[in-house]
Symmetry: D2
Subunit: 410 residues, 4 copies
Amino acid sequence: MSTDGFLARYPDWEKQQTDRGVDVEWVKAHLKELAIETPSWGYGDSGTRFKVFQQEGVPRSPFEKIEDAAMVHKVTGAAPSVALHIPWDLVDDFSALKKHAEDHGIKLGAINPNLFQEDDYKLGSLCHADPKVRKKAVRHMLDCVAIAQEVGSNIVSLWLADGTNYPGQGDFRRRKQWLIEGLQEVIAAMPGDMRLLIEYKFFEPAWYHTDIPDWGMALLLAMKLGPKAEVLVDTGHHPQGTNIEHITANLLDEGKLGGFHFNDRKYADDDVIVGTMDPYQLFLIMKEMVAGLLDPATRPTAERVAYMIDQSHNIEPKIPAMIRSIMNVQRYYAKALLVDFDALRRAQDAGDVLGAEAILQDAFETDVRPLLAQVRAELGLHPDPLTAYAESGYAEKIQARGKGGQSWSS
Amino acid sequence: MSTDGFLARYPDWEKQQTDRGVDVEWVKAHLKELAIETPSWGYGDSGTRFKVFQQEGVPRSPFEKIEDAAMVHKVTGAAPSVALHIPWDLVDDFSALKKHAEDHGIKLGAINPNLFQEDDYKLGSLCHADPKVRKKAVRHMLDCVAIAQEVGSNIVSLWLADGTNYPGQGDFRRRKQWLIEGLQEVIAAMPGDMRLLIEYKFFEPAWYHTDIPDWGMALLLAMKLGPKAEVLVDTGHHPQGTNIEHITANLLDEGKLGGFHFNDRKYADDDVIVGTMDPYQLFLIMKEMVAGLLDPATRPTAERVAYMIDQSHNIEPKIPAMIRSIMNVQRYYAKALLVDFDALRRAQDAGDVLGAEAILQDAFETDVRPLLAQVRAELGLHPDPLTAYAESGYAEKIQARGKGGQSWSS
Amino acid sequence: MSTDGFLARYPDWEKQQTDRGVDVEWVKAHLKELAIETPSWGYGDSGTRFKVFQQEGVPRSPFEKIEDAAMVHKVTGAAPSVALHIPWDLVDDFSALKKHAEDHGIKLGAINPNLFQEDDYKLGSLCHADPKVRKKAVRHMLDCVAIAQEVGSNIVSLWLADGTNYPGQGDFRRRKQWLIEGLQEVIAAMPGDMRLLIEYKFFEPAWYHTDIPDWGMALLLAMKLGPKAEVLVDTGHHPQGTNIEHITANLLDEGKLGGFHFNDRKYADDDVIVGTMDPYQLFLIMKEMVAGLLDPATRPTAERVAYMIDQSHNIEPKIPAMIRSIMNVQRYYAKALLVDFDALRRAQDAGDVLGAEAILQDAFETDVRPLLAQVRAELGLHPDPLTAYAESGYAEKIQARGKGGQSWSS
Amino acid sequence: MSTDGFLARYPDWEKQQTDRGVDVEWVKAHLKELAIETPSWGYGDSGTRFKVFQQEGVPRSPFEKIEDAAMVHKVTGAAPSVALHIPWDLVDDFSALKKHAEDHGIKLGAINPNLFQEDDYKLGSLCHADPKVRKKAVRHMLDCVAIAQEVGSNIVSLWLADGTNYPGQGDFRRRKQWLIEGLQEVIAAMPGDMRLLIEYKFFEPAWYHTDIPDWGMALLLAMKLGPKAEVLVDTGHHPQGTNIEHITANLLDEGKLGGFHFNDRKYADDDVIVGTMDPYQLFLIMKEMVAGLLDPATRPTAERVAYMIDQSHNIEPKIPAMIRSIMNVQRYYAKALLVDFDALRRAQDAGDVLGAEAILQDAFETDVRPLLAQVRAELGLHPDPLTAYAESGYAEKIQARGKGGQSWSS
């Protein structure tokens, strides 16, 4: 189906939905507001522990990463900021980097500290038994807070890789205490409108235990740290069989959902394109977000949630992969916006199990490509971002960068 | 090896450990204090959804279950109380049941409400959309509080089976709110020295979501409910790959570890005998408990923790299986008591990964059968509980009960 | 959306697909041929090990189960046979049962032996250490072969529940040898056009090991047993993270894929409605089946594959749940038929990872409700089977059966 | 406990076991024969996708790797060969490498091809859609066959990293066909006494599917390839909850168990030291191997099985980690040799579930450190290999190599 086709189908689509009782303008307004941050490191080379396959055209500097991120925003209209990772994106002059971003039509977003790639961190960082290492880690976090202020970002997003590989290697309770102390120092240095997003991860790169393995530990820390701390949900960081939409709803309820790192996986933290393995799960997560927006009690939290991509495009071209990721989140958000929540509530109250489930299936089954083509057209964009990208000549242009661009692997 | 053999070996064993620097008297004292509650329902028939294989000699009444539990205590000296499940153990006169227990040398322990076997609970109990069902569930909980007071127990232990089987079936946040409201009412009715232990379970019997899926949710509820509420860790209720000893340490640290339901599993909530699938995990959990006892900050919590068995002996004889369960917990607790915590701390502080791990392996590898035989002899017990049971004639005596005793399956 | 709406949309839909190059008549022809067997036990009461919630109107006899199955076929046109389970469906006169089915417009399908609900089978059946038990199990299988002949079915479908709960309980290699010997006897008694479908299951009801845990063991047995033996894939019987579509392709390639038991799950063998947890997986499986039909090398196997439902509708109404199951398989089969396999091959050959993936997403995203409404209309059916069922009055009629119908739980 | 202590305890230990009916000389003879191959790459730097922490003293060449492997053999007496990985261990003159090994008292063992670290292999090697890449991969395999002949090894051990990251990326059946064709060419080039060991892996580095995901596929390939092909079991390559001892028994039964890659894991393919996460599983696997040796039908296969270590010591010192790995395998093999198989058979035949399980627990609980100290002393070794290593001064000597030795990461 050509994308023109989807655009042409929109009037019929709109009528069908209006007939169903959908407020199509409300749906479109929400889609236009959806902003998904892309990660600078997602444009660089990445791989597995076995091999990083270098690609042609990979950015050679943070400046070039920003140009790629800006290109993704240009064709999608939905990726207005780019996350930085320090020191991967360390530059001498962050104001120049900020200006570079603004000149390209985007902003700098969450600042991601790195506490796992220096020799000192072999056995941990904020949880290391040696106070000198812990102090160094705190200092790096404080540097990141400063960088965030410098670039106008109000989010510091911490994935703590700390953990142990063997039973006995570390003392769980002491490590937790050290972690709290370190983060308290960081929080104290943060301005009032800045948030610390605490990510959790069930395993990897530590094999026996991770110091922040699950939402429970992340929330516990965030509660101890006060209102500036919130939880970050990376969709690939859970044990098999976890109901992530339930976690989403619960963190919304606690006012502590800070953001998402989107990606998909089949077994471990595969970091493949969001929506390619289990698209229904993505829909169900976005459905909780829409429900959160509709409820005055959770709306302030839901509106503040930072949507971010965090993926490793090991074998696929990076910019198209990022565009597709944005499009997938849009697709399943659009479907979530079509859920008939009033009917759902009635079915739930009536104990109508099949009826409630059918309401979700109905929304999921609806083809939203005409809608998304229309939304893009209304924003002055090409209805198909991938076509727009292909026609832009950008992919050819960046071949000049050659191979051997920046990589987040050490 | 005959058990007499183990007893005879004890003097050598003691010398070896004393030479290692172990305070053997301290170890023995802790082993003598170890009390593990057995569940009344563990003596009844049980099975899978496919079949309950009835066994000869299964108790026909709560009174007979108590007699079996008393027999387990008689030969192990370590199972001084029995948990009740209401209504499975509902009797007209709980004071008579209490007296029956005392006459047989044991006490009545935790009271376990049942919120999953009445038709009203098909779609939930405390989380049901219908306020009448929620009210009924709360009433049942209050009845259990009253029963606990009547039988002199200070623990009500809640496994909430609520959850949903399909996306959309329930509203996660509303259900949570209802759950909190219901439990607040229960907590308010509990006397000051009574504790509500909140169990969590990742899945089953609800398939899509459970309202209390993990320690994070259980702790969150316990924090909202105040000091009378604590978390109960059932060792079989986690996703694959979970580090349960980390959870143990963390809940100790929060002062919120209320107790354990011990059992083992290979894949799901198999409810097989504790220590038969992954004995090293049991050792590592008990090691955290010993560490918790050694630390003044966590000692009050650690001393209060209720150790309980919760298993389904579907194909094996029930009383021997329970005796073995008690013995397994003793075995791995004994090994945990042999850990050289000072050396472990030094290795951790020195970043000696292999050295720290070796300290745990050394304790785990130590054969503690001579020690346990000696401890039992010092308590006036037969050194081998299973031999004592075999020689007691009890197994033959209860054959008179025939087949078709009580079962917890509906 | 009313179903009339879907039917009205069909002409547009057809044009869109024809424009895409889809042979819509070919697609419709395949959809009309799709036959999915429903299980007699799916109409009876079922539950978890904790509770069977009885429903009103559940069949009280195999005859009534057949009436329900016939009703599902009447409204879907896609469920022309019903599987029997022996002894749950044991009747004095199978020819009467067969005639009853035919009178109601359906046929009797796969015969499923039961080797797990008699006391003799507590420790196994075909793998039991006692030759008398093994002989009894073989005899039951032979009875099932005879019943299959009597009712005109050419499939005996074996789910073997054998396994062990504890290390050491059984000898893996002896058990395997006994299993082979027993099945060889069964195969020898089967007429040439009858097939034995061998199901595998990773766990449950045995916890430590199951004798046929995976497709590898099932295929190995089928290879030893010769051309009459094939493998049955139950979609809920795998470890987490398993790629079932890969298994599907491989068994097709070996000419040994015998059939499917469809259901869905989030963690264990949840047996919930197929397509409700991970619909994309169902699509990917069906895509392998379509690919198998398109390839002359695998077509004979693919055409012979038996599609069957095997679910437990514990809390939802049984007949509507079964209708929805049929509709879900149709939906994702329809989407699989829309895959552009030529383009897919080209993308694969070109190493175009994103392009290949997009081809599948395009098919998956297509709304096939207009197509399915049209197919049903062309077959003389109501475009929406659930509406047809609701309007039939059947649900009200069977209320007269009351509660307490047949159940597969022991 | 000093290791002298263990040696001093041996006479008592021997008497205890002899009293139990154990043929201690038979046990010791088997322990002396146990040979475990170590991997050359296990001495180099390794890490996760996030970081390789370089260690001091890591070998700078294949020759130095062999020296380290020889050191491990010198102190354990149980690691008489070292596996090579091509091209990581590519040298100009393999006969010089062979001589170097022999001069240091060990042999060169399995040759491991590498089909995953060249750009050509980004989308696969033997399963690549491009015949030129497949041809190149076959050629590399043939080179490895030639190297094996040159160094006097009779094992080529293939871990195939091929797979796909996204649905649709590859055609499962075509890839399988290509794989078979390629391996047939390799097999044809192998001399009659050479074996191809086919490893399987459930996931990683490919995320969506791996071409050889499980023992079933590996066995199927080995059957198609004939008697020179066998299956290699890597203990970390299974989905959670897999019963690896069952797989071991089954492959022995089929005469197709070729070898093991030992390591341990908690969640994924963690590649930590064997026996540190789930030592009971290691014991149960070794128990199947002992049972296989005792049974004339499986003995030829069991005797031929190649025991190999395959681990990544990311944070711990490499040579001590390898020594510990050898010691752990010895420990659990020793315990397996103590199992009373006659009593086990009787318990199994009697349906004595608890009795059978207790027999395994008895062997597992036996402290075998005195036995292993004695066996080492009888072989003229220090009773504690780690002490011998510490006293050798080797660790200090290799510091001269500095940092930045060879690493298997690309």
